[in-house]
Symmetry: none
Subunit: 216 residues, 2 copies
């Protein structure tokens, strides 16, 4: 088996040097590139298709979240490990949603860093303990409750909510009409009102809204 290839993306050269120092002399690991902003990171990732990308969150040009999203889009087999300075960094959670395989505090020991890289390279996930705590808290609370969206939901009539979930399921107007025993005209009327109340320009945005807020 070849060495695990690693790409470093961080705007602070010192950090990159430190990591390169630690990882470079580790058997089975090989640094294949370094970048000092997100855009360059994405380009190098697409070029080298490394096994693991160590990605800083805050960076010029393109931040770590956007870069992560693009990398997982272009290189599905590449694992991204987010590096963050503060354990309650909101961006880090966005990073997970963007498709990162884990994240690590920058104050981690070199041994932890090496272990984390090997872990994600093996296809598993790693999260530093303090962040795991927060993650679990969110998981427990997860069910619902984005207050703004609930307010909008309550502005809808019962019938409109039925139509909304039907839209979110991907049904066409004709299918909704059949399922609810309505004419297609009526469905169109309801759909129009849902669009207006949610300020969505078309049913596609309704689908996105619904899935962002726990439906589907």
């Amino acid at each position: 088996m070849d060495a695990t290839t690693v790409l470093l993306v961080d705007d602070q050269a010192l950090v990159r040097e430190g990591m390169a120092m630690v990882l470079g002399q580790e058997p089975g690991l090989r640094i294949v590139g370094e970048a000092d902003d997100g855009r360059a990171g994405v380009q190098l990732a697409r070029l080298h298709r490394p096994d693991v990308v160590l990605m800083d969150v805050r960076m010029p040009v393109l931040d770590g979240i956007g870069a992560t999203r693009e990398i997982v889009t272009h290189c599905p087999q590449t694992r991204v490990l987010i590096l963050t300075t503060f354990d309650l960094d909101e961006y880090a959670f966005d990073g997970l949603r963007a498709g990162a395989s884990g994240f690590l505090l920058k104050d981690a020991s070199s041994a932890e860093l090496v272990r984390a890289v090997r872990t994600v390279a093996a296809g598993e996930a790693v999260v530093s303990p303090r962040i795991t705590r927060t993650l679990l808290d969110r998981y427990r609370q997860a069910p619902v409750n984005p207050p703004e969206s609930v307010r909008l939901l309550e502005e809808l009539t019962a019938r409109e909510r039925e139509v909304l979930v039907a839209i979110a399921r991907g049904l066409s107007n004709a299918e909704i009409a059949a399922e609810l025993f309505l004419s297609e005209s009526t469905v169109k009327t309801h759909v129009g009102r849902v669009l207006a109340k949610l300020q969505a320009r078309d049913r596609i945005h309704v689908v996105i809204w619904a899935h962002r807020h726990g439906l589907g």
Copy 2:
């Protein structure tokens, strides 16, 4: 600072003995009791108020989930660490909802066990890597394992994936064309191929697919 007190709850005596062996000779740790079912575990926890409870999931009389729920209710400062044999154990996730501070596979090494106990005793959370992976998948609202979805994703070309995420963001063909510097015809071509490869009848189903599988 006093030693960290630990309570063992498992219906298999061998497992308890093994853990007692490992933890008992560890400096700073002290076993304060053992129980072989959930009910007894709750009673001993209320009696000794240990820092950490190592809790099996499957047990007679009262299972580990119910026992965890009662313990965190009666002894808020006590941390419960769930032990599970299989990493995809559904009950383990229920355990997290019940208030456990983490869970651990039974095939963990003794060093991992010790480290996990110390970690939760410090008020942090610990989850074994394989389970973390699943947890993150759920956090992203992906069903469980997306092997099928990843396979589909990799069938797409890089360009098609770019178009896919644009669709998932709710962009119209014209908007995608503008963003990627393409003609609308070309966008339509790509969109058509994405639809075919994902077996989606229209872009709406693509949006749903994308949001179900972690994009957006």
